[in-house]
């Protein structure tokens, strides 16, 4: 399995990186907290960590630590526009339920 990035998401991420002026790529991660148990982390990467897994899709490098990979394997990162609002969205097959806000999720036990 792997992490994929849609073309629109890649365009957005590349734009953000070039405006920021530095960065190797982006980091996806998972943190325990939030209203449904897990919360997504989405950050720029300046320094890689030991054990990071790296995926490249549409010329965008995605870094994930092994612990987060368990929860994110198979995730597609998409760029969504809703009226004036725009941003990235995790399409995560592992998520059993998401809270309405989309900032956190939970996985099925077992």
């Amino acid at each position: 399995m792997a992490i994929t990035v849609t073309e629109a998401a890649a365009r957005h991420i590349k734009g953000q990186l070039s405006r920021r002026g530095k960065g190797l790529g982006i980091r996806l991660g998972v943190r325990t907290s939030g209203c449904s148990g897990m919360a997504y982390v989405l950050e720029f990467v300046d320094v890689t960590d030991d054990g990071d897994q790296v995926f490249e899709d549409h010329e965008v490098k995605v870094f994930i630590d092994p612990k987060s990979m368990v929860y994110l394997d198979g995730t597609e990162l998409d760029f969504v526009k809703e009226g004036l609002n725009e941003g990235l969205q995790f399409n995560n097959p592992n998520a059993a339920s998401e809270c309405g806000c989309g900032e956190s999720f939970s996985v099925d036990a077992g």
Partner: protein
């Protein structure tokens, strides 16, 4: 559903923790809203991709319109279309009148007890205050931000001109409150522009902010030291901007086309102005441009254009020079020049500013957006989205704050250029025996006599227990919050009676007033010192006269011979006379003289007092047993 933004490494927010914080540039002509997303501060466009919102509100038959539709109504329905409301914020009716007869509005005085002193504008939807009009503009920006950020807002930083006084700042905060917006703080516009360029991270230096907008020109000289921005001087021209550039080009065009300006109608004039604006913008990138008006067509080269606009730029450079002089600086002491306002795109403007300051001006951030961007960066920190050490931004108060003491003297409690927020307390006492109330009259300014300063507010502290003069201890506390708004509290320490006031002066000072007040305080420093000394001696003389008169009336006859009595009375008269006619020195020596001549009398009174006290003691003792 919230869509995720990319955060800086290690700073991904907890879910639902990211606070949506706005930076708002509430401008005279145009307003903008910005926020920090994915670590980048950017202005937010509306659904049509327009970042700027014309600061125009139209009170129409169907409802209230803000922005472009309102602007379009300004020609058809000028009486109900409010433009440039910022110029009226926190001003009194008389100030608004002095803005010139150009305003087409019908002003009425505010209803009793409500924003007193502020003019209300008659519209078909009722009388509205400038605060309400500004709130409409803020509402439009907030609505745009909510749609864009997909959620509730935590708060905002709103920018104001550096020369805005307390009343104008308070009016801006009131407008935000009316719009349901939590204001973290107000930020000076030039400071925001400097922040946008990250100059606050640079440590120290002198920064000139050259702001040439659509209709106004502002120049601010800031000094940055240890993360504190001090506004050293401000200046400008409230009737000079990009519109004047267009007008001068339009005039040239009409002249070339052989059209008499007075013979064309308003529609043609508008057409000429639009063409002139296009010409100006094209010449920013092209060396020359084709110009057309009606049947006529020609070309305008950049050299010709420069020649046309040079007299306008001269005016800005002169104001720049004046501000530097006010700040006590030379052009070569400027470390950075920040360009703000769309008109600073004109290459000639940049050239001239660079020529004068000797520094290449900072222009990499869109000059229309730079103030909003800086405000957004500051808002992001204040919302707690970044660690606070990233940016601690402080401002200073522009004029000293103090109160009136006896003799009409100004007692400064907080001196100018003190960083805010700040709180200072000072103890005062009563002047007369048995005084039970004290008037606290708050002033702003640098001069020694209150009559040369500006009255901000007055209130009374009542319920002071009757005590001999000088017996009561009254602590007066001045507190200035982060927005530069002043609160004054007075407390009598032995009883704890309190009284306080929130200063919201009825109308304000212009930037020119502030610089004039500062200049005067330097110019009249010597006179002021002498006057202060004189007043102090006069107050002391009054105190002595009062005390002696009371003593003479009470004990004069019983303790003094007739000769002694008349001699002291004569001395008293002579001191009274000297107090009126003399200078500080002669009053002082007269006070000293009367002190010596009444020494014996004072001693006798004291002895009598002791005797009475002792005999009283005996009576008490007797009653005790």
């Amino acid at each position: 559903m919230a869509l995720l933004q990319i955060s800086e490494p290690g700073q991904a927010p907890e879910p639902h923790q990211y606070k949506r914080a706005l930076g708002i540039d509430l401008g005279t002509t145009n307003s903008l809203v910005a926020t920090v997303r994915s670590g980048v501060a950017e202005t937010l466009p509306d659904i049509d991709g327009q970042h700027t919102l014309p600061s125009v509100v139209h009170y129409g038959e169907q409802g209230v319109e803000v922005g472009v539709p309102a602007k379009n109504s300004s020609l058809i329905d000028p009486e109900n279309t409010i433009v440039s409301v910022k110029r009226m914020m926190g001003r009194g009716l008389e100030d608004v009148d002095s803005l010139g007869g150009v305003l087409p509005y019908r002003f009425v005085t505010a209803p009793q007890g409500q924003n007193e002193g502020m003019p209300f504008i008659k519209t078909r939807r009722g009388d509205v205050s400038p605060v309400e009009v500004s709130a409409e503009i803020l509402c439009a920006l907030v609505g745009r931000a909510k749609d864009t950020l997909g959620g509730e807002l935590d708060g905002a930083v709103i920018t104001v001109p550096a020369y805005f006084d307390d009343a104008q700042r308070q009016a801006t905060k009131d407008a935000a409150k009316l719009a349901g917006l939590n204001v973290y703080r107000l930020l000076n516009e030039p400071t925001a522009a400097a922040v946008a360029y990250g100059l606050d991270q640079g440590g120290q230096g002198v920064i000139a902010v050259y702001d040439l907008g659509g209709g106004t020109f502002d120049i601010s000289i800031l000094r940055l030291e240890k993360g504190v921005f001090e506004v050293m001087a401000t200046g400008g021209d409230t009737a000079l901007g990009g519109d004047d550039f267009d007008r001068i080009v339009a005039r040239w065009m009409l002249r070339e086309a052989g059209v008499d300006e007075s013979s064309i109608n308003s529609l043609q004039l508008r057409e000429a102005m639009v063409e002139a604006c296009r010409v100006k913008e094209t010449l920013t990138v092209e060396p020359e441009v084709e110009v057309g008006f009606g049947e006529w067509s020609g070309t305008l080269s950049r050299e010709q254009f420069d020649e046309l606009v040079d007299p306008l730029i001269d005016r800005t450079i002169r104001a720049f020079k004046r501000s530097l002089r006010d700040a006590g600086l030379k052009a070569n002491e400027i470390d950075e020049v920040v360009m703000v306002g769309g008109s600073t795109r004109v290459p000639r403007v940049r050239e001239r500013v660079e020529g004068f300051s000797g520094k290449q001006p900072l222009t990499s951030i869109d000059p229309d957006k730079v103030v909003a961007v800086g405000a957004a960066l500051q808002a992001n920190v204040l919302a707690g989205n970044k660690s606070a050490e990233d940016m601690l931004l402080l401002d200073v108060i522009p004029l000293s704050l103090g109160l009136e003491t006896m003799g009409g003297l100004m007692e400064k409690v907080i001196h100018r250029n003190t960083t805010i927020p700040v709180s200072r307390a000072q103890e005062f006492t009563t002047y007369k025996d048995g005084q039970t109330a004290m008037a606290i009259h708050v002033f702003q300014g640098e001069r020694e006599l209150i009559r040369d300063n500006r009255s901000l507010a007055r209130f009374e502290l009542r319920g002071i227990p009757p005590m001999p003069a000088g017996g009561a201890k009254i602590r007066v506390t001045f507190q200035v919050d982060a927005d530069g708004l002043l609160g004054v509290a007075a407390e009598e320490l032995s009883t704890g009676v309190k009284s306080s006031i929130q200063v919201k002066p009825s109308y304000g000072l212009s930037d020119a007033d502030i610089s004039r007040m500062l200049k005067d305080s330097f110019e009249y420093a010597g006179d002021d010192k002498d006057l202060r000394a004189l007043r102090e001696q006069q107050v002391e003389a009054d105190r002595v006269v009062e005390a002696l008169a009371v003593a003479l009336e009470k004990d004069g006859e019983s303790l003094l011979s007739e000769g002694e009595y008349t001699a002291l009375l004569a001395d008293l008269e002579s001191l009274k006379h000297c107090r009126q006619a003399g200078d500080a020195k002669s009053i002082a020596s007269e006070i000293e003289r009367i002190g010596r001549s009444s020494e014996e009398f004072a001693a006798r009174r004291m002895n009598q007092g002791i005797r009475q006290a002792l005999s009283g003691q005996k009576v008490d003792d007797l009653e005790e047993f």
